[in-house]
Symmetry: C2
Subunit: 235 residues, 2 copies
DNA sequence: GCATATTTGTCCGTATGTATA
DNA sequence: CTATACATACGGACAAATATG
């Protein structure tokens, strides 16, 4: 999925993850990406080149190449002669992210009249994983599972490019959640919704599933935007 | 919105050239991007680091930063220890690109029940520009106008991120056209279709417009894929 | 408002590893 | 198989801009 490299896997459309990641910069970018979506570096924090090279054991040039990639993914923002900072989304960004999600998720679901079996299975697996995490009160994994659910929904489109874009959008959405540290109440209510959507999809009613997802996204966006604007005014 | 870097203007679909572009790497990337969509470097051609630094007057480090960006945009492909090559799309890529375009364009058009006036104007302007170019038999500008038309259609979504993704998809599509050097017969028949779509949109029938666009994309994909597979078998 | 310290932006040289003639 | 060419990655250098006192 992040394998932007060799030509071989592009032709197959398959994602190769096992072989060691090609270049050092890509490796570093992947590492930082993980740290960013895990919330290791809080949104808005500046990332010092010097310190990070030291920490990661790479040269400044290599680190800067990784920075560029993550800036392009909007996980980092770059300010001339000031350095790079962890992305700090605003309520406008939240709205835009949901616009993008509607664009990516709804058509994929609605048009899934004869979906690939494997793709549907992935959707169901994400639902299961989320419910299991809720049982264990593992809120972090619950959030991850919820994200994976939406990734799987977009995956119904069977397009490598759409998938890639979706994963970027979701990564940025993780930043949004880190801005307002409260995964539990923002994910928990939606698990049942996910279950319902998967059931409708699996039972051959993609349009019904899409309608459910549409209202899901509406309410989710409302909840996030109101919480966000409240926080922005407080600051 | 926190201006990431240069991306603020991509949201408007407009390219900002007057304000000094922030970093050298971004500048080089933009320059190469233009050259690539203009077909200066033919698909598949290897780009020598040494020669390009010389040509562009930048260091290898800076050039490599630019390369990473363009690899992420799929305009270049990177092979370990071999260098970067201009993207050489296959028929599978063409199919995937059209999947992405359907995802981005159709919902934007279909949901444009109360579109922003400016957005509709941009669609119309692209249609006019295409027809004018056809009059002058300026096939290259005709192709550009056609691309701008589809960018404007996606722009109806009013989402910066959707717009950005769309421009990437279209840039890659330019590569496809360069693989089979024949812009005239691939763009000319579709200008009338564009006009019809804009008329339907402007007259308040976005669903009708979307239906037109759907068949447009179907026939366009068919034409390209058949031409492409024929070319692949020939080689 | 000013002088200083810090950090980034960019370049160059070089050692190592890989692919190709 | 050897040799050559090239990409990879590192570290150091200096100028320019910013942050700090």
């Amino acid at each position: 999925m992040t394998a932007t490299d060799t030509r071989a896997d592009r032709s197959t459309g398959r994602t190769r993850l096992l072989p060691p990641m090609p270049t050092q910069a890509e490796r570093v970018a992947e590492l930082l990406r993980e740290s960013l979506i895990d919330g290791v570096y809080p949104p808005g924090r500046r990332l010092s080149e010097e310190r990070l090279c030291e920490e990661l054991g790479v040269s400044r040039n290599t680190l800067r190449e990784a920075f560029r990639l993550l800036v392009r993914e909007r996980l980092l923002v770059h300010q001339m002669h000031r350095g790079v900072f962890v992305g700090l989304p605003t309520s406008d960004d939240v709205r835009d992210l949901f616009k993008a999600r509607r664009t990516l998720e709804l058509p994929a679901l609605r048009d899934a009249t004869a979906p690939a079996e494997e793709a549907v299975r992935l959707v169901g697996a994400a639902v299961d994983e989320g419910e299991a995490a809720r049982e264990r009160e593992d809120w972090w994994r619950m959030g991850t599972a919820n994200m994976r659910f939406h990734q799987a929904v977009a995956g119904l489109s069977e397009s490598a490019r759409v998938n890639e874009f979706m994963s970027q959008v979701l990564a940025e959405t993780r930043l949004v959640f880190h801005v307002m540290d409260a995964p539990r109440e923002f994910h928990a209510p939606y698990l049942d919704w996910n279950r319902r959507i998967h059931t409708l999809l699996a039972s051959g009613d993609p349009r019904g599933a899409a309608e459910e997802l549409a209202t899901y996204l509406d309410t989710s966006e409302d909840q996030l935007v109101t919480a966000f604007t409240a926080m922005e005014e407080r600051a």
